[in-house]
Symmetry: C2
């Protein structure tokens, strides 16, 4: 199930987490979020990972039955955790970190009550900070996702058939992703965020505002899920932007490509080239030490100078960022936004998505996933970047 | 976007919610969960629904831009809500309900701080109680989902090709669901719950324990999502249980059917017939006033008498319930479990899923969605219930 070097990998992650626990002055971190359970154990289980500031991590598992692993204790409910810790001779924490940006209020209170002597602090920003810098093992998994993702995108034009609606094209692309090994589920941080596999935006629908904080919107098929395709027929003169998430390994890559139907206006091609220029200019300057806000500013300046400010990152509704970290979740740090405090560092992995919405035509632009190396950034998603015609 | 009678429908829902607000002694309910935003407005938006114990609901919207609607106020952040309420002459609540079983700890604290004078109470059980009894409008949407769902299941055998792996079959079924109008996303209550579209369990994989609290498990393709198909080839002598969720309207139906490959053991057929018998015996007694626990007990007794107790609701790992309410979420009340306090009432909609896992063979059993009528229950999902051979 795990790669051979996995216990070594878990040790690396444990050390990273313990270092931020100690820096924060806490004594332990009790993990319950599936994303962080996966990060700390290599698999999703129902239960908790207890991480003391020093020593071994302990997995408290409710389900599944039958796991054989070191440092694993089966429990029925979290109230058993303190007695099990005592049995192991582990001192109760004075300061305990909980994932207070993802635990529900009642679950957080329940866990607090189990440690009545402990001061509770929010550990979510700390574990997200740790996860921002990927280990070589994680980068390999994202590289693997990106390879499947790219291969899938190369075959995208082949699944288009004339007269298709946007949703019919989307369905064939989803199937293509699954046949390339996509696990389907896309994990996102933030309670109000919901997504199915991604979005396929044709023509005017790209200009439809969505409630979700993604780069672009779309009306969706139903008001219960107002995002992505809306069932409209794709017409000559339209662009189609495909932005299907790539979870092939438990780690996400993210990429978008644009296709055209018939002849599209010169303006759309120009705006697309501005996106490619933004990407290449960013590739020139991005490296460890560069603030994510500088990268946003550079993109915005190029968009503005080229005369496409009104179309940049949306038209009727605009996204406030041009890129975001990816990992186990689709939206991790760093965030490329005007007021972002994130600074690029080696091992970060992010998607850059400078995009434009041209009314009556559709969305254009590019999205690729990059890893920050010692002296620059390297593109992980590889596929033709020009607008490709669908026939 | 909405049916003509939708403002009438919203009025009905508002009255139901206001009635539980008053019963609980609270003055208002501030809603933030997408599921409940959809319930209270008919669409998902980024923002809040404020429901006073009496008077009009007010929608505080961050995104999308461009909504035109009565009682709608655009805000940038929830801290603006009190001033807007004052502007409307609405008295600040002394007791405020928040969704403390789904809001994150920090979001709940943030909203509490906006109403520093108010006592905060947990509204999640109340709004879930309200949503348990569906309105005729909602029942129609579930009926519509169930019709598409049934139609999709009838075509399931046609997408099977000999030599397929379980995941290949699953992918074709997912595509079939989408072509029938599935929105893809399956909403589930509970932070630790994750699902893609559902599960397709072939042979031994049906016996693989999962961390998730679904009726059956499966190893999944990857430890990051240990549920459903694991990529194994389906072999003669195996059963395949298809349990793809049906979100065709924002409202879910749920159904499972079993297919066989080659000749399957008599034992599997017998157990399947026990499931059908459990279903028909439940159909005889289920009606308003019957405790959900009685229905569980009846199912368990029949399973036990037939000699399949060890296989009932799983083998290596067992589910503790045989059915669950469905609605906007896949897991609503009532819950059919031994200690459930739920009592059947007219307008409830639920899935019944008595199932067995036969080692080396796979899962058998049935799942259908029912609505509780004035004097019984009525099946909404309609499709052949015997084990069908795949060729």
């Amino acid at each position: 199930m795990y790669a051979e070097n996995f216990s070594n990998e878990i040790e690396i992650r444990k050390n990273k987490i313990q270092s931020v626990i100690r820096r924060s002055g806490a004594d332990a971190f009790l993990i319950n979020d599936n994303v962080n359970l996966f990060y700390t154990s290599g698999r999703v289980f129902s239960g908790y990972t207890y991480i003391p500031a020093e020593g071994e991590m302990i997995y408290f598992v409710r389900r599944p039955v039958g796991l054989l692993k070191e440092n694993l204790i089966y429990i029925r409910k979290p109230e058993q955790i303190p007695e099990e810790l005592k049995r192991l001779g582990i001192v109760m924490p004075n300061v305990l970190l909980l994932e207070n940006d993802s635990l529900t209020y009642n679950e957080s209170i329940r866990l607090s009550n189990i440690f009545p002597e402990a001061k509770i602090e929010n550990g979510t920003p700390l574990i997200r900070e740790v996860r921002t810098i990927k280990t070589p093992y994680e980068i390999n998994l994202i590289r693997e996702s990106a390879a499947h993702h790219s291969s899938m995108y190369r075959k995208a034009p082949a699944v288009y058939k004339q007269g298709m609606s946007d949703i019919e094209f989307s369905i064939e692309l989803e199937r293509l992703a699954r046949l390339h090994g996509s696990l389907g589920l896309v994990r996102i941080f933030g309670d109000s965020m919901e997504i199915y596999m991604g979005s396929v935006l044709a023509g005017e629908n790209a200009d439809e505002p969505s409630p979700y904080d993604f780069a672009l919107g779309g009306a969706g098929l139903d008001p219960s899920l107002p995002i992505s395709s809306n069932g409209s027929i794709m017409r000559p003169g339209n662009t189609v932007m495909v932005d299907i998430g790539g979870n092939f390994t438990g780690y996400m890559s993210d990429m978008s490509r644009v296709f055209s139907l018939g002849e599209i206006p010169e303006k759309a091609k120009e705006a697309h080239n501005v996106s490619l220029k933004i990407q290449s200019e960013i590739e020139k300057i991005a490296k460890p030490g560069i603030p994510a806000s500088d990268i946003y500013d550079l993109a915005f300046e190029i968009a503005k100078k080229s005369g496409f400010e009104a179309n940049f990152m949306g038209h009727r509704q605009k996204a406030g960022f041009i890129g975001h970290g990816v990992g186990i979740e689709l939206n991790e740090a760093p965030v490329f936004a005007p007021r972002s405090k994130d600074i690029l560092a080696e091992g970060m992995v992010f998607a850059l998505e400078p995009k434009f919405v041209i009314p009556q035509v559709g969305a254009v632009g590019i999205e690729n996933t990059f890893v920050v190396t010692a002296d620059g950034i390297k593109k992980l998603t590889q596929c033709e970047e020009d607008i490709l015609p669908l026939n």
